[in-house]
Symmetry: C2
Subunit: 178 residues, 2 copies
């Protein structure tokens, strides 16, 4: 990703954090992580985030989703030191359409990115408005998408090790773009 594009996306993420009333340090503002999952279509499939803390035990992040942006389907399998990452998502701003394993929701409010449908396999829907949250236990497939206003989500979890995440889409490389 070009630096100019990175700066543009970062600016949009900062605007979302501001709308959510999230106060960041100047250092955090300059180090926002922008992830396009190697798909080079950040507005459609991507994620912006700040990691507040990531110790051996606990991780806390503030995720920002651009309007109608999708974080692609993945799971957090067993690791050397535990059964896999456990995540609680708490919506702080906007709307989050979260899909997990379980009975497929019949009339869903959001859909996978067009053309990528084959890489999405779980469709049990949870809709999170500000103040609402959901806990995803290890090794459970999940993906999520924001509504038209974008979204800000606090993530409370066990230790984060991005390299151990398993994505349904085999093209995905979980490295930050910049």
């Amino acid at each position: 990703m070009e630096r100019q594009k990175y700066e543009e996306i970062k600016g949009k993420a900062l605007a979302l954090y501001e709308k959510a009333g999230i106060i960041l340090t100047e250092e955090e503002k300059t180090s926002i992580e922008v992830v396009d999952f190697g798909l080079h279509n950040i507005e459609v499939t991507g994620l912006q985030l700040i990691t507040y803390v990531n110790t051996e035990k606990v991780c806390a992040k503030e995720l920002a989703l651009l309007p109608n942006q999708t974080c692609p389907e993945h799971k957090h399998p067993k690791r050397d030191f535990d059964e896999g990452k456990e995540e609680t998502f708490r919506c702080r701003y906007g709307k989050v359409y979260l899909y997990v394993e379980g009975n497929e929701t019949e009339t869903r409010s959001a859909h996978p990115p067009q053309g990528d449908e084959e890489n999405y396999t779980v469709f049990h829907e949870l809709i999170l408005s500000p103040g609402q949250q959901y806990t995803i236990y290890p090794n459970t497939l999940h993906w999520f998408k924001s509504g038209e206003d974008g979204a800000v989500i606090s993530e409370f979890s066990t230790k984060s090790t991005d390299e151990s995440d398993v994505f349904t889409d085999s093209r995905i490389i979980r490295v930050p773009m910049m």
Copy 2:
């Protein structure tokens, strides 16, 4: 604590959450925990909080401190299942004066509640403004106090088990008032 007092303190906590831009569900609003630590002087020594999640692995809380209110000195010792609770405090609103083990800070910005000085033994000062945070590892004594505007603090931690906390003040019973 009388219900009328509880409702008064709860109202003050809700006003602080609102100032911090924290959005809570109606259910969360009605279930705010108000803790006077058995000292019956809530405005001086006390804590208000909401627990978002507390699984076997991860806990997240939103703490509110009334103006100049102190959360008394304590530590989180070894438990059956781990080395003790680990806590990261992130200031969201107001100012937090946090005291931990280590070199005593010479000119401190806050002091223990008057008359309770004997129950405070660690004086290494950290001052947290909104966006700033600090991680307290297991079995480390700590206490904290808000500034004149009160404070809101996000706590990211391992599993919370209040009954295993050890307070320097032996009078303290860690049970919610209501």
